[in-house]
Protein backbone atom coordinates (compact mmCIF):
# COMPACT_ATOMS: atom_id res chain seq x y z
CA UNK A 1 0.00 0.00 0.00
CA UNK A 2 1.34 3.46 -0.79
CA UNK A 3 0.67 6.74 0.95
CA UNK A 4 1.04 10.12 -0.76
CA UNK A 5 2.81 12.77 1.27
CA UNK A 6 2.53 16.22 -0.19
CA UNK A 7 4.97 18.98 0.62
CA UNK A 8 4.50 22.45 -0.86
CA UNK A 9 7.78 23.94 -2.04
CA UNK A 10 8.76 27.37 -3.36
CA UNK A 11 11.38 27.56 -6.11
CA UNK A 12 13.61 30.66 -6.13
CA UNK A 13 15.59 31.53 -9.23
CA UNK A 14 18.19 34.07 -10.30
CA UNK A 15 17.39 35.15 -13.85
CA UNK A 16 20.94 36.36 -14.42
CA UNK A 17 23.02 33.27 -13.63
CA UNK A 18 20.30 30.59 -13.43
CA UNK A 19 21.00 29.79 -9.76
CA UNK A 20 17.99 28.03 -8.28
CA UNK A 21 17.03 26.88 -4.80
CA UNK A 22 13.99 25.28 -3.19
CA UNK A 23 12.55 25.93 0.26
CA UNK A 24 9.28 25.08 2.03
CA UNK A 25 6.34 27.32 1.01
CA UNK A 26 5.57 30.26 3.33
CA UNK A 27 2.24 32.13 3.36
CA UNK A 28 2.66 35.32 1.35
CA UNK A 29 4.78 33.66 -1.36
CA UNK A 30 3.65 34.22 -4.94
CA UNK A 31 5.12 34.03 -8.44
CA UNK A 32 7.21 36.16 -9.38
CA UNK A 33 7.79 37.90 -6.02
CA UNK A 34 11.38 39.00 -5.31
CA UNK A 35 12.64 37.15 -2.25
CA UNK A 36 16.29 37.78 -1.40
CA UNK A 37 19.39 38.02 -3.53
CA UNK A 38 21.47 35.54 -5.45
CA UNK A 39 24.54 34.31 -3.49
CA UNK A 40 26.54 34.18 -6.76
CA UNK A 41 26.02 37.63 -8.26
CA UNK A 42 23.75 39.56 -5.88
CA UNK A 43 20.89 39.78 -8.43
CA UNK A 44 17.32 39.51 -7.15
CA UNK A 45 15.96 36.02 -6.56
CA UNK A 46 12.48 35.59 -8.03
CA UNK A 47 9.89 33.09 -6.85
CA UNK A 48 9.83 31.00 -10.02
CA UNK A 49 7.23 28.44 -8.97
CA UNK A 50 5.26 26.93 -6.11
CA UNK A 51 4.22 23.31 -6.34
CA UNK A 52 3.27 20.16 -4.46
CA UNK A 53 6.20 17.80 -4.32
CA UNK A 54 4.87 14.29 -4.01
CA UNK A 55 6.85 11.42 -2.55
CA UNK A 56 5.26 8.01 -2.90
CA UNK A 57 6.18 6.09 0.25
CA UNK A 58 5.69 2.40 0.77
CA UNK A 59 3.80 1.63 3.95
Amino acid sequence: MSQQQVQIVTVLKCLKCGYSIERPFREGDFVPKIDGTCPNDGSPLFIWGIYAKSNEQKK
Binding site: V31, P32, Y51, A52, S54
Partner: protein, 378 residues
Protein backbone atom coordinates in the same frame (compact mmCIF):
# COMPACT_ATOMS: atom_id res chain seq x y z
CA UNK B 1 -41.74 -34.56 20.48
CA UNK B 2 -38.63 -32.88 19.11
CA UNK B 3 -38.01 -31.30 22.49
CA UNK B 4 -37.94 -34.75 24.08
CA UNK B 5 -35.51 -36.01 21.43
CA UNK B 6 -33.24 -33.00 22.01
CA UNK B 7 -33.37 -33.48 25.73
CA UNK B 8 -32.46 -37.16 25.44
CA UNK B 9 -29.52 -36.67 23.07
CA UNK B 10 -28.34 -33.28 24.35
CA UNK B 11 -25.37 -34.66 26.36
CA UNK B 12 -23.20 -36.02 23.51
CA UNK B 13 -20.92 -33.87 21.20
CA UNK B 14 -22.45 -35.32 18.01
CA UNK B 15 -25.88 -34.15 19.15
CA UNK B 16 -24.56 -30.51 19.30
CA UNK B 17 -23.55 -30.74 15.65
CA UNK B 18 -26.90 -32.14 14.58
CA UNK B 19 -28.63 -29.29 16.45
CA UNK B 20 -26.57 -26.78 14.53
CA UNK B 21 -27.30 -28.53 11.23
CA UNK B 22 -30.99 -28.49 12.05
CA UNK B 23 -30.89 -24.75 12.81
CA UNK B 24 -28.95 -24.09 9.58
CA UNK B 25 -31.60 -25.99 7.58
CA UNK B 26 -34.31 -24.06 9.36
CA UNK B 27 -32.55 -20.78 8.59
CA UNK B 28 -32.12 -21.71 4.95
CA UNK B 29 -35.78 -22.62 4.58
CA UNK B 30 -36.73 -19.35 6.25
CA UNK B 31 -34.49 -17.39 3.85
CA UNK B 32 -35.93 -19.24 0.83
CA UNK B 33 -39.47 -18.47 2.02
CA UNK B 34 -38.60 -14.81 2.60
CA UNK B 35 -36.83 -14.51 -0.76
CA UNK B 36 -39.84 -15.93 -2.54
CA UNK B 37 -42.16 -13.36 -0.96
CA UNK B 38 -43.02 -10.64 -3.49
CA UNK B 39 -41.07 -7.39 -2.88
CA UNK B 40 -38.75 -8.76 -0.19
CA UNK B 41 -35.64 -8.77 -2.39
CA UNK B 42 -36.37 -5.24 -3.52
CA UNK B 43 -36.74 -4.07 0.08
CA UNK B 44 -33.38 -5.63 0.89
CA UNK B 45 -31.76 -3.88 -2.08
CA UNK B 46 -33.36 -0.58 -1.02
CA UNK B 47 -32.07 -1.07 2.52
CA UNK B 48 -28.48 -1.74 1.43
CA UNK B 49 -28.44 1.01 -1.24
CA UNK B 50 -29.84 3.54 1.26
CA UNK B 51 -27.21 2.51 3.85
CA UNK B 52 -24.40 3.09 1.34
CA UNK B 53 -25.81 6.46 0.25
CA UNK B 54 -26.20 7.53 3.89
CA UNK B 55 -22.53 6.73 4.49
CA UNK B 56 -21.52 8.82 1.45
CA UNK B 57 -23.80 11.64 2.55
CA UNK B 58 -22.10 11.66 5.95
CA UNK B 59 -18.72 12.17 4.26
CA UNK B 60 -20.13 15.07 2.20
CA UNK B 61 -21.69 16.57 5.33
CA UNK B 62 -18.32 16.37 7.06
CA UNK B 63 -16.68 18.22 4.15
CA UNK B 64 -19.47 20.83 4.20
CA UNK B 65 -19.15 21.44 7.96
CA UNK B 66 -15.38 21.75 7.66
CA UNK B 67 -15.71 24.26 4.77
CA UNK B 68 -18.27 26.29 6.76
CA UNK B 69 -16.08 26.39 9.84
CA UNK B 70 -13.00 27.49 7.82
CA UNK B 71 -15.03 30.24 6.12
CA UNK B 72 -16.32 31.47 9.49
CA UNK B 73 -12.79 31.43 10.86
CA UNK B 74 -11.51 33.42 7.86
CA UNK B 75 -14.28 36.02 8.30
CA UNK B 76 -13.69 36.28 12.06
CA UNK B 77 -9.95 36.77 11.53
CA UNK B 78 -10.80 39.81 9.41
CA UNK B 79 -13.05 41.18 12.15
CA UNK B 80 -16.51 40.19 10.86
CA UNK B 81 -19.01 40.13 13.72
CA UNK B 82 -21.72 38.20 11.86
CA UNK B 83 -19.48 35.43 10.46
CA UNK B 84 -22.04 32.70 11.16
CA UNK B 85 -24.88 34.55 9.45
CA UNK B 86 -22.67 35.43 6.45
CA UNK B 87 -21.58 31.81 5.99
CA UNK B 88 -25.24 30.73 5.99
CA UNK B 89 -26.02 33.41 3.38
CA UNK B 90 -23.18 32.20 1.15
CA UNK B 91 -24.32 28.58 1.53
CA UNK B 92 -27.88 29.28 0.41
CA UNK B 93 -27.17 31.65 -2.53
CA UNK B 94 -28.30 30.54 -5.97
CA UNK B 95 -28.32 31.68 -9.59
CA UNK B 96 -31.27 30.91 -11.81
CA UNK B 97 -30.38 29.71 -15.32
CA UNK B 98 -31.53 31.98 -18.14
CA UNK B 99 -34.53 30.91 -20.25
CA UNK B 100 -33.21 28.54 -22.92
CA UNK B 101 -36.35 27.81 -24.97
CA UNK B 102 -35.66 31.20 -26.59
CA UNK B 103 -31.89 31.07 -27.23
CA UNK B 104 -31.59 34.60 -28.68
CA UNK B 105 -29.11 36.56 -26.58
CA UNK B 106 -28.71 33.70 -24.12
CA UNK B 107 -24.97 34.40 -23.85
CA UNK B 108 -25.41 38.03 -22.85
CA UNK B 109 -28.15 37.03 -20.40
CA UNK B 110 -25.90 34.32 -18.98
CA UNK B 111 -22.98 36.77 -18.69
CA UNK B 112 -25.20 39.24 -16.84
CA UNK B 113 -26.39 36.58 -14.38
CA UNK B 114 -22.87 35.22 -13.74
CA UNK B 115 -21.40 38.69 -13.19
CA UNK B 116 -24.33 39.74 -10.97
CA UNK B 117 -23.85 36.63 -8.88
CA UNK B 118 -20.08 37.23 -8.52
CA UNK B 119 -20.55 40.92 -7.72
CA UNK B 120 -23.17 40.10 -5.11
CA UNK B 121 -20.72 37.99 -3.08
CA UNK B 122 -18.04 40.67 -3.52
CA UNK B 123 -20.41 43.44 -2.38
CA UNK B 124 -21.48 41.47 0.70
CA UNK B 125 -17.83 40.98 1.69
CA UNK B 126 -16.94 44.63 1.01
CA UNK B 127 -19.90 45.98 2.96
CA UNK B 128 -19.05 43.76 5.95
CA UNK B 129 -15.27 44.19 5.75
CA UNK B 130 -14.62 47.52 3.96
CA UNK B 131 -10.88 47.48 4.66
CA UNK B 132 -10.15 43.93 3.50
CA UNK B 133 -7.31 43.63 0.97
CA UNK B 134 -8.04 42.18 -2.52
CA UNK B 135 -6.10 38.94 -1.91
CA UNK B 136 -7.99 38.12 1.32
CA UNK B 137 -11.26 39.16 -0.31
CA UNK B 138 -10.64 36.68 -3.13
CA UNK B 139 -9.91 33.95 -0.56
CA UNK B 140 -13.26 34.66 1.13
CA UNK B 141 -14.98 34.63 -2.27
CA UNK B 142 -13.54 31.20 -3.13
CA UNK B 143 -14.47 29.89 0.33
CA UNK B 144 -18.03 31.17 -0.20
CA UNK B 145 -18.18 29.38 -3.57
CA UNK B 146 -16.93 26.12 -2.02
CA UNK B 147 -19.45 26.30 0.86
CA UNK B 148 -22.20 27.01 -1.68
CA UNK B 149 -21.21 24.11 -3.95
CA UNK B 150 -20.91 21.62 -1.07
CA UNK B 151 -24.21 22.75 0.42
CA UNK B 152 -25.97 22.27 -2.92
CA UNK B 153 -24.38 18.83 -3.40
CA UNK B 154 -25.40 17.76 0.10
CA UNK B 155 -28.97 19.00 -0.30
CA UNK B 156 -29.52 17.36 -3.70
CA UNK B 157 -28.15 13.97 -2.59
CA UNK B 158 -30.22 14.11 0.61
CA UNK B 159 -33.30 14.99 -1.45
CA UNK B 160 -32.98 11.97 -3.75
CA UNK B 161 -32.11 9.65 -0.84
CA UNK B 162 -35.25 10.66 1.08
CA UNK B 163 -37.35 10.58 -2.08
CA UNK B 164 -36.10 7.09 -2.94
CA UNK B 165 -36.86 5.84 0.57
CA UNK B 166 -40.26 7.52 0.66
CA UNK B 167 -41.31 6.16 -2.73
CA UNK B 168 -39.59 2.81 -2.02
CA UNK B 169 -37.95 3.29 -5.42
CA UNK B 170 -34.93 1.11 -5.95
CA UNK B 171 -34.29 2.78 -9.30
CA UNK B 172 -33.84 6.27 -7.80
CA UNK B 173 -31.49 4.87 -5.16
CA UNK B 174 -29.42 2.71 -7.51
CA UNK B 175 -28.78 5.67 -9.84
CA UNK B 176 -27.67 7.75 -6.87
CA UNK B 177 -25.60 4.88 -5.48
CA UNK B 178 -23.76 4.44 -8.79
CA UNK B 179 -22.63 8.09 -9.03
CA UNK B 180 -22.10 8.62 -5.29
CA UNK B 181 -18.38 7.61 -5.17
CA UNK B 182 -17.61 10.33 -7.75
CA UNK B 183 -19.64 12.92 -5.83
CA UNK B 184 -17.91 12.04 -2.55
CA UNK B 185 -14.53 12.35 -4.27
CA UNK B 186 -15.58 15.74 -5.66
CA UNK B 187 -16.69 16.94 -2.20
CA UNK B 188 -13.40 15.83 -0.66
CA UNK B 189 -11.50 17.63 -3.45
CA UNK B 190 -13.45 20.84 -2.70
CA UNK B 191 -12.55 20.51 0.97
CA UNK B 192 -8.83 20.19 0.13
CA UNK B 193 -9.11 23.03 -2.40
CA UNK B 194 -10.31 25.45 0.27
CA UNK B 195 -7.11 24.95 2.30
CA UNK B 196 -5.00 25.50 -0.82
CA UNK B 197 -6.80 28.73 -1.78
CA UNK B 198 -6.72 30.09 1.79
CA UNK B 199 -2.92 29.59 1.90
CA UNK B 200 -2.56 31.27 -1.51
CA UNK B 201 -0.84 28.28 -3.13
CA UNK B 202 -1.13 28.06 -6.95
CA UNK B 203 -3.43 25.24 -8.04
CA UNK B 204 -3.18 22.98 -11.11
CA UNK B 205 -5.55 25.32 -12.94
CA UNK B 206 -3.00 28.15 -12.43
CA UNK B 207 -0.88 26.60 -15.20
CA UNK B 208 -2.16 29.09 -17.83
CA UNK B 209 -1.49 32.17 -15.65
CA UNK B 210 1.94 30.74 -14.70
CA UNK B 211 2.91 30.48 -18.39
CA UNK B 212 1.61 34.01 -19.04
CA UNK B 213 3.47 35.39 -16.01
CA UNK B 214 6.78 34.08 -17.42
CA UNK B 215 6.26 36.41 -20.41
CA UNK B 216 4.79 39.29 -18.40
CA UNK B 217 7.38 39.46 -15.61
CA UNK B 218 9.90 41.22 -17.88
CA UNK B 219 7.39 43.69 -19.33
CA UNK B 220 7.45 46.93 -17.34
CA UNK B 221 4.28 48.50 -18.80
CA UNK B 222 1.08 46.61 -18.28
CA UNK B 223 -2.56 47.60 -18.58
CA UNK B 224 -5.97 46.21 -17.69
CA UNK B 225 -7.99 45.35 -20.82
CA UNK B 226 -11.07 44.25 -18.81
CA UNK B 227 -12.23 43.51 -15.29
CA UNK B 228 -9.58 41.66 -13.21
CA UNK B 229 -7.35 41.12 -16.28
CA UNK B 230 -3.83 42.24 -17.03
CA UNK B 231 -2.04 42.60 -20.37
CA UNK B 232 1.49 43.33 -21.57
CA UNK B 233 3.24 43.61 -24.90
CA UNK B 234 6.53 42.01 -25.86
CA UNK B 235 8.47 41.09 -29.01
CA UNK B 236 9.25 37.44 -29.77
CA UNK B 237 11.27 36.74 -32.93
CA UNK B 238 10.07 39.94 -34.58
CA UNK B 239 6.38 39.36 -33.77
CA UNK B 240 4.38 41.65 -31.50
CA UNK B 241 2.98 39.40 -28.77
CA UNK B 242 0.25 40.61 -26.42
CA UNK B 243 0.06 38.41 -23.33
CA UNK B 244 -3.07 38.26 -21.18
CA UNK B 245 -3.87 36.69 -17.82
CA UNK B 246 -6.14 37.25 -14.81
CA UNK B 247 -4.74 39.77 -12.33
CA UNK B 248 -2.91 37.92 -9.57
CA UNK B 249 -2.01 36.85 -7.02
CA UNK B 250 -5.73 37.00 -6.15
CA UNK B 251 -7.81 33.86 -6.60
CA UNK B 252 -9.66 34.87 -9.75
CA UNK B 253 -10.09 33.72 -13.34
CA UNK B 254 -10.81 37.26 -14.54
CA UNK B 255 -12.72 37.97 -17.76
CA UNK B 256 -10.42 36.57 -20.49
CA UNK B 257 -13.08 36.59 -23.23
CA UNK B 258 -13.87 40.25 -22.78
CA UNK B 259 -10.14 41.06 -22.56
CA UNK B 260 -9.37 39.38 -25.91
CA UNK B 261 -12.42 41.02 -27.50
CA UNK B 262 -11.31 44.48 -26.31
CA UNK B 263 -7.69 43.99 -27.40
CA UNK B 264 -8.67 42.72 -30.88
CA UNK B 265 -11.22 45.52 -31.36
CA UNK B 266 -8.68 48.12 -30.26
CA UNK B 267 -6.25 46.76 -32.87
CA UNK B 268 -9.12 46.88 -35.42
CA UNK B 269 -8.80 43.15 -36.00
CA UNK B 270 -5.14 43.31 -37.02
CA UNK B 271 -4.26 40.16 -35.07
CA UNK B 272 -2.81 37.16 -36.89
CA UNK B 273 -3.18 34.45 -34.27
CA UNK B 274 -4.75 33.80 -30.88
CA UNK B 275 -3.09 31.16 -28.66
CA UNK B 276 -4.93 29.92 -25.57
CA UNK B 277 -3.14 27.98 -22.80
CA UNK B 278 -5.14 26.17 -20.15
CA UNK B 279 -5.32 23.18 -17.81
CA UNK B 280 -7.59 20.42 -19.08
CA UNK B 281 -9.33 17.46 -17.45
CA UNK B 282 -7.49 14.24 -18.22
CA UNK B 283 -9.21 10.98 -19.04
CA UNK B 284 -8.54 7.95 -16.84
CA UNK B 285 -5.31 6.37 -18.07
CA UNK B 286 -3.78 9.66 -19.19
CA UNK B 287 -0.75 11.04 -17.36
CA UNK B 288 -0.82 14.24 -15.30
CA UNK B 289 1.30 16.93 -16.96
CA UNK B 290 0.84 15.57 -20.50
CA UNK B 291 0.81 18.41 -23.03
CA UNK B 292 -1.38 18.45 -26.13
CA UNK B 293 -1.87 20.93 -28.94
CA UNK B 294 -5.18 21.61 -30.61
CA UNK B 295 -7.46 24.11 -32.27
CA UNK B 296 -10.06 26.32 -30.60
CA UNK B 297 -10.44 28.15 -27.32
CA UNK B 298 -9.03 26.17 -24.41
CA UNK B 299 -11.26 27.37 -21.59
CA UNK B 300 -13.48 25.66 -19.03
CA UNK B 301 -16.01 28.47 -19.03
CA UNK B 302 -19.81 28.08 -18.93
CA UNK B 303 -20.00 30.03 -22.19
CA UNK B 304 -19.83 33.83 -22.16
CA UNK B 305 -16.02 34.23 -22.04
CA UNK B 306 -15.26 31.46 -24.52
CA UNK B 307 -17.82 32.63 -27.06
CA UNK B 308 -16.48 36.21 -26.87
CA UNK B 309 -13.12 34.96 -28.20
CA UNK B 310 -14.76 32.76 -30.85
CA UNK B 311 -16.97 35.63 -32.06
CA UNK B 312 -14.20 38.19 -32.34
CA UNK B 313 -11.95 35.59 -34.04
CA UNK B 314 -14.68 34.79 -36.58
CA UNK B 315 -15.35 38.51 -37.18
CA UNK B 316 -11.72 39.13 -38.20
CA UNK B 317 -10.88 35.58 -39.38
CA UNK B 318 -8.17 34.97 -36.77
CA UNK B 319 -7.03 31.34 -36.29
CA UNK B 320 -7.17 30.06 -32.70
CA UNK B 321 -4.70 27.56 -31.22
CA UNK B 322 -5.00 25.70 -27.94
CA UNK B 323 -2.25 24.25 -25.76
CA UNK B 324 -3.46 22.18 -22.82
CA UNK B 325 -1.84 20.43 -19.88
CA UNK B 326 -3.75 17.46 -18.52
CA UNK B 327 -4.69 16.84 -14.90
CA UNK B 328 -7.53 15.44 -12.79
CA UNK B 329 -10.31 17.59 -11.32
CA UNK B 330 -8.73 17.27 -7.88
CA UNK B 331 -5.30 18.30 -9.18
CA UNK B 332 -6.84 21.29 -10.97
CA UNK B 333 -8.22 22.75 -7.72
CA UNK B 334 -5.55 21.69 -5.22
CA UNK B 335 -1.81 22.57 -4.95
CA UNK B 336 -0.15 22.49 -8.38
CA UNK B 337 1.38 19.02 -8.93
CA UNK B 338 5.11 18.86 -9.68
CA UNK B 339 4.45 17.41 -13.15
CA UNK B 340 2.19 20.35 -14.03
CA UNK B 341 4.77 22.84 -12.74
CA UNK B 342 7.44 21.14 -14.86
CA UNK B 343 5.13 21.28 -17.89
CA UNK B 344 4.96 25.12 -17.72
CA UNK B 345 8.45 25.67 -19.21
CA UNK B 346 7.74 23.12 -21.97
CA UNK B 347 4.49 24.97 -22.79
CA UNK B 348 6.44 28.23 -23.17
CA UNK B 349 8.67 26.54 -25.75
CA UNK B 350 5.59 25.19 -27.58
CA UNK B 351 3.98 28.65 -27.63
CA UNK B 352 7.20 30.12 -29.08
CA UNK B 353 7.32 27.34 -31.66
CA UNK B 354 3.68 27.99 -32.69
CA UNK B 355 4.48 31.70 -33.05
CA UNK B 356 7.50 30.87 -35.24
CA UNK B 357 5.79 28.23 -37.36
CA UNK B 358 2.44 29.89 -37.95
CA UNK B 359 3.15 33.64 -38.08
CA UNK B 360 5.59 35.92 -39.89
CA UNK B 361 7.83 38.66 -38.49
CA UNK B 362 5.78 41.82 -38.06
CA UNK B 363 2.60 39.88 -37.22
CA UNK B 364 0.61 40.38 -34.03
CA UNK B 365 -0.20 37.43 -31.76
CA UNK B 366 -2.35 37.23 -28.62
CA UNK B 367 -1.38 34.67 -25.95
CA UNK B 368 -3.86 34.05 -23.12
CA UNK B 369 -3.01 32.12 -19.98
CA UNK B 370 -6.44 30.88 -18.91
CA UNK B 371 -7.20 29.72 -15.37
CA UNK B 372 -7.32 30.71 -11.74
CA UNK B 373 -4.34 32.90 -10.91
CA UNK B 374 -4.14 32.22 -7.17
CA UNK B 375 -0.53 32.67 -6.04
CA UNK B 376 0.60 33.85 -9.49
CA UNK B 377 1.11 37.58 -10.08
CA UNK B 378 2.62 39.12 -13.20
Amino acid sequence: MNTIVFAQTGGTPSSGLSDLAFLAYLGMILVIILMSLPGFQQRMYIYFAAREIENGLLKIEKALNSAKSKTKQLLEQQGAKNADELTKRFAEMFTIDPVNVEPTDIISRMRLLIRTSEDKVKNIIMSTLPNVDPVTRSKIEVSAEIVNALNMLHKVIRHYLLLGKKMQSYFILIQLQSILPMLVKMAEAYEKAQDTFIKGVPVGDSLGPLVASRFLMNIPEKWSPSKEMIAGETIIDGRKVIVLKAEGPMATVGTPGEAVENVVNKLEGKVNRIITVDAAAKLEGEETGEIAEGTGVAMGDPGPEKIAIERVAVKYNIPIDAVIVKMSLEEAITAMPQKVYEAADKVIEIVKRIINERTKPGDTVIVIGVGNTVGVAQ
